[in-house]
Symmetry: C2
Subunit: 411 residues, 2 copies
């Protein structure tokens, strides 16, 4: 991450966002837009580019003029990151962030503050909303479209950077799995995998992956999902489980880059002999993903749900059900990714895909008694198709040579 | 992290929290407590222990009976982590989390929903608050004390675990600094430090630290602050800067553990010859920290601000100012840490310290033209003193043998 990055992308991009926000505000008849939140509020991150502290700060927009009320100790960082005016705010609570926002509103608005009609997002804290509502005529809570779903070229590049790091992490996992050996466990009731002398667990594998992500300058963000056998059927398993030979090992990596953008990559492996259920399920999921890509080749204008239906249709040919089921595919085929890991559009939605949409393509099949397979790539929709930001092979057997992809991370 | 961890700490701890919440709710005359938020809401994390998804879910408490409305795909995880009743919620928006909360309220409350007086935190999203307020008699927004500041023994242990990982990360940084060599840069106007053939930067050092944190099962959480020279004066510098010989290198590590608890550790080093300003400033800060510890020896009942005043008093003897200054100590001496990196109590507050408070002790002195020094330990207040969770020496010159602390992380 560069020291400030603002030289790589000057005010123009920020101003485009501010202009879109000003248009959306004007369309509702509001005099101003206000938002209050902390570093974990992704709308605020998107609007301000400010990584921010873990306490509330305020953003104010009046006629396209954007102001960030940053806590005093973070004012320098705010000036580096925010493409608008920064005013310091000394206090730390939500209501005082709101108080500072009201001061800025009072200065910027041409008419008295008590006559103001203010637009805000429903995610704004209730306390801040109440404080602002007490000082103005009305606060309207509207989930306005900030334009987050349609990525710019700069945003696409940030996603691609993080996805490359995710691929390095995946290669590390694949190398570890390839190096693991099956032994008969002491209790003698099942075989287990060992690596470097100790039982291989999802947590050991996770730490290996996360160390590689860190070396490439991205954060695992608590999202390194690794399941083994039955725990693959838990879509978000971040706990510890023994990894055995012959069972599916599902890795879903969603690291976050220094500018806040996420990646998303899932592969599934089996160490040792691949059983019939595992092989057939893998083939079904891979074919479902191919079917999804076939639809995505239509590019912008494609009905999003057609992608999901292509995937589930292929799975149905293999006898796997979809929807609210206990065995089969019980999630959507994909979701948008940006400064949030999950955002619009959903590949189950009726709306058309648009150029710049960044979406996952991730069919999966699970059987809590056997395991689960999911394969996930990460693409940008274009006018006449899509660009896959993923360049990682899909092979059920871990390849020991994949480690070459991460050779430059070794000590 | 264990697969669920609930066996290590059964319902009792959760019930104590729920009972405290029930008492606080009853004290306001409210019939129920409701909160809505996502995985980034630390109050919700504390109340539920549920690491949760990145979309809103709801928590409801009626007469000490706690219910978590978890999104369907996260219901299994919720059942592992939440020490109360889990009901699935199918939808993803804040208002539908509120809708599910209203259904639970309707089932649990003895009187009609429209007569209910509901207590909520000011941090609840305004949209969810509006939806609930429309269905009940009144929603009162109150910043009630959930008891987060007073840690249990189990919480203390989680903090200690993460602080040990932070120390491993610091040892890695110290080893890298000790191995760096000063060379005359190509442009010949200043010396620079090189490590493994390339210029050593704050970002390279950060990646080394973060990889070690990952290997020990904790997340850097975007908090690996590393400054060099002038950027030490930026208290939250997470960008890239060249590291030169003779300048201060400030590392402030605040990783987060798998159960959500943070650590906090800061050390400052100088590679090569230590200049007069750097040495004297280091001595002043170390002495200020000692003075703070002297006051903390009073344990529970000590006025928190006495700790801060002891530190700033010592710095004043060295001629360093404190408060709203450009050169000197322009932050507080410490803050509480828990499932938030910054929480109550502040060591600048008038209130007495209590047993179980986990606080940082981190005096610092900065001169934007020269650099900055901060030294930070992390302690638990006890009835008759404090327990320091930190066991990392304070030495300005990096010690190459510190790497032994991380020897078990090498490949």
């Amino acid at each position: 991450m560069s020291r400030d990055g603002s030289s790589a992308e000057p005010n123009r991009g920020g101003n485009a966002t501010f202009e879109r926000l000003a248009d959306a505000t004007a369309a509702t008849g509001a005099d101003a837009f206000v938002h209050v939140g902390d570093r974990f509020d992704d709308d605020l991150r998107y609007l301000t580019r400010f990584a921010g502290p873990d306490r509330d700060y305020a953003f104010v927009s009046v006629d396209g003029r954007a102001t960030l009320c940053a806590p005093r100790l973070f004012a320098e960082q705010a000036k580096r990151e925010f493409p608008g005016a920064v005013v310091p705010a000394g206090e730390s609570s939500a209501s005082s962030a709101a108080g500072r926002a009201l001061e800025v509103l009072g200065e910027r608005l041409p008419s008295p503050l008590e006559d103001a009609y203010v637009l805000a997002l429903p995610s704004m804290p209730a306390g801040a909303t109440r404080a602002i509502a007490a000082a103005v005529d009305e606060v309207a809570l509207e989930p306005i479209d900030l334009g987050r779903a349609r990525k710019t070229t700069a945003e696409r590049d940030r996603h691609a950077f993080v996805q490359r790091a995710a691929q390095r992490g995946m290669a590390r996992a694949e190398a570890v799995l390839a190096a693991a050996t099956a032994v008969t466990a002491e209790n003698d009731w099942c075989d287990e995998l060992r690596w470097r002398g100790d039982p291989l667990t999802t947590e050991r594998l996770r730490r290996e992956v996360n160390a590689v992500l860190a070396r490439f300058g991205v954060r695992d963000a608590g999202n390194t999902v690794i399941g083994a056998g039955a725990t693959c059927a838990d879509l978000h398993f971040i706990g510890e489980d023994r990894i055995g030979p012959g069972e599916t090992v599902l890795l879903d990596l969603s690291p976050r880059g220094p500018r806040g953008y996420y990646a998303d990559l899932t592969r599934t492996f089996v160490v040792g002999e691949v059983g019939e259920w595992e092989r057939r399920t893998y083939d079904a999921v891979a074919e479902a993903q191919d079917a999804a890509f076939d639809v995505l080749r239509g590019g912008a204008g494609t009905r999003a749900a057609d992608v999901h239906e292509a995937a589930t249709g292929t799975l149905a040919e293999y006898g796997f059900e979809s929807g609210d089921v206990d065995v089969g595919m019980y999630h959507g085929t994909g979701h948008g990714v940006g400064v949030s890991l999950h955002e619009a559009p959903s590949l189950s939605s009726e709306g058309p895909l648009e150029a710049g949409h960044v979406v996952t393509v991730e069919p999966g099949v699970y059987d809590p008694d056997r395991g689960g397979v999911r394969l996930e790539d990460f693409v940008v929709v274009t006018d006449d198709g899509y660009e896959n930001l993923t360049a990682y092979p899909c092979e059920i057997e871990p390849d020991p040579d994949r480690i070459e992809m991460v050779s430059d991370t070794s000590d």
